[in-house]
Point group: C2
Chain length 473, copies 2
Amino acid sequence: MAYEIDATHDPALESWIESAQDPESDFPIQNLPIAACRLPVEDDDDDEDTWIEDLVVPIGDKLLNISEAVRSGVLGGGGKYEEDFDSYIAYGAPLNAIGDPDVTPGFRAELRRRISRLLAKDTKDLRDDKKLKKKLLLEREGADVIPAFQTQDFTDFYASIHHATNVGSMFRPDNPLLPNYRWIPVGYHGRASSVIRSGEPVRRPLGQTEPAEEGGAPGFGPSKRLDYELEMGFVIGRGNERGIPIAIADAEEHVFGLCLLNDWSARDIQKWEYQPLGPFLSKSFASTISPYVVTMEALAPFRAPAPERSGDDPRPLPHLDSGPNREGGAIDVTLEVYLSSKEMRQKKLEPVRLSRGNLKKMYWTVAQMVAHHSSGGCDLQPGDLLGSGTVSGPTRDSRGCLLELTWDGDPFASPPVAAPGTARTPIELPTGERRVFLEDGDEVILRGFCEREGRRRIGFGSCRAVVQAAPKI
Amino acid sequence: MAYEIDATHDPALESWIESAQDPESDFPIQNLPIAACRLPVEDDDDDEDTWIEDLVVPIGDKLLNISEAVRSGVLGGGGKYEEDFDSYIAYGAPLNAIGDPDVTPGFRAELRRRISRLLAKDTKDLRDDKKLKKKLLLEREGADVIPAFQTQDFTDFYASIHHATNVGSMFRPDNPLLPNYRWIPVGYHGRASSVIRSGEPVRRPLGQTEPAEEGGAPGFGPSKRLDYELEMGFVIGRGNERGIPIAIADAEEHVFGLCLLNDWSARDIQKWEYQPLGPFLSKSFASTISPYVVTMEALAPFRAPAPERSGDDPRPLPHLDSGPNREGGAIDVTLEVYLSSKEMRQKKLEPVRLSRGNLKKMYWTVAQMVAHHSSGGCDLQPGDLLGSGTVSGPTRDSRGCLLELTWDGDPFASPPVAAPGTARTPIELPTGERRVFLEDGDEVILRGFCEREGRRRIGFGSCRAVVQAAPKI
């Protein structure tokens, strides 16, 4: 099943919610991503705070409570999808059960169509019902929005060949890009418990770092090389039976949608620990995701050919290759990183943009990652999070982490601007502060959006967190 | 808190369940591990099979249903622990909620004391109540026993220096033991979804393997080097707040108990994929655990000093070092691997033992692994599974996987018996069959037990699975 462009993508479509027409809004009626929202339960006698987690769809500066919309009878109801609306939407988050094998085929597309219809300019059901609107519409600003899926397993890939080459040059100067890179979407298992929501502060980790001299004792203390990684997260909507690989032709059916992902990394801890079994504590202290999952249906107008393979690039093995993947396996998402220091916020200065890249330039597509992940029989589950790996492009301003961005080495410069790993160039902030890696109080903000001629721009909202000081030792 | 030896460990203690006195039984009254058991719900009108998952404790050849025991009033009831019995035991599996911060301190020890008392020879409450016995006691043989905890995250360590050196010699002949090994309990994130119960078959994975010649295309097909890994699993019973490390002095309080773990590994897939981010699909097709978790309380009489550090071994950094850990951080568990081929089972031949090792010889202790894991702020959660890594000792017959066992290279032999990685010596089975790696139809069985002079032997049951053919490509 390919995700098709239909009437819900029509750029002329407008909503009766005015703010959705703002051309700058991430959330026009053509988008309709899904999140959850914590809502206090008011009629509770208990002393403890209690809440429910309803499913919501952002529209302009509002949130539509779609769980309550089903319960109130304006969404779902009747027809072959009635049970699906009752089972998967009315009960609220987590949305993981939408991966059940008995969900009616086509339900996700139908959900999108009905939400689109309910919010369309000419639909009166909700528009003209003041009482119901009060119940179903919330202000987005200040709402307690969280991801709709409970993260099961977290896998992080390494799909940008530019990132892999840059980082490889620093960690293994003689051998930057390993021979398996062009054959395997290289990835590793990450930590699910520390996948956290946008807005939660991130505490600088303590950890062991390389001894100052060979044979000496390693250091232990707060990381001095704390970094972000600009990534896209792919949320699995449907799993596979353990032992049975997913064919590349079916791979995208298993993906529910995309969110922003900041895979925080402590580079000094990583350098000392990562051999031979890969990154561990340098990553597992936190990974931040944005709450809004933009569905694969919404992304249909923004597909792009997978990057062309040429020169050293072999044709992928058959289980990772298909015509549709070559022609439209990539997704055209512009991704940006912004930084705001504590001093900048105190002086009311706007965050500065550090880089801008694009997901479509990744060496491996989401279908290839899903097909590879399941090729050995590993069972994916609804709610699994797959990270793309750092989204870095070929140019300096498209490098998706500070490790690459403040590094003088540039494998594409000839002669090289510096011997790899020998020098670092700080970033200047508008306050005169300088950054090589992150400082306590820094806020990192990821943004993403899709733009295309003749299409309404859609966005991912933001993924943000402030760095807190390490715990005292 | 240290786990103390008390009256429940008294070797003279006997149960009114006769089979528990069998000196060969893994489950005397001194053991009392915890598992869950699927029980059909009979009064259900629905066509579908439904069941409940009650908590059980194996005793001799029986299972005591402790959830039903609480519901029936012979366990729990009254006193300061009443709510704990109701909240954590009466509802059945999963047992993860026992990690709640509001569990009454001492509840786990009290649970053990009360079960011990209920089963002790002189306690009449259950012994003399035929009707209740019928309800609470099940035959262990044929029961659908499963782990009591839902696996959250799975982390696999690499704590045997013998295993690390052997495998390092094969994968990196020039550089077998990396400089971080003696400083860091090296580990990596594993896959939680494919942690499966003993008895479930394991399907041979498909995967990419190294090109036959440099620059050539990799192969893709069923793994030709399928292996087991003899490990111990540590089940986390209580988590930590994200960002806040667990001190080594407190580390064992966070561990509920131990089970057997077979971390199946496809060596040919591993060799090609593992650089630079570690093992991925070569491990994530399946990891089998035994259902019975032997509690830290039960293991109190079987503690041992951590292996002495000498020669090249540095003193661990302070956050990984403590007097109590040096004096009693290790656990004396004998671990064995048995193999039974399809032909052997057809000819009714007993499984053959391939190796025998001991957990106490691991370079890193469970307290060190827990302290390290949380040192960067990663939040452990109840139900997390920590694997020890392959338990291999210094001798050939204590090597915990076929990769080491059938390999001629022996870093301790002088002169070496073969150039590392160049030759493999098959194992002869009683049928005349030979094994270098696992064949379809092979059953691998792990066993473990604790024995000590003046103490009643306790065991872990078994962890077993049969290898199935790979799916057709």
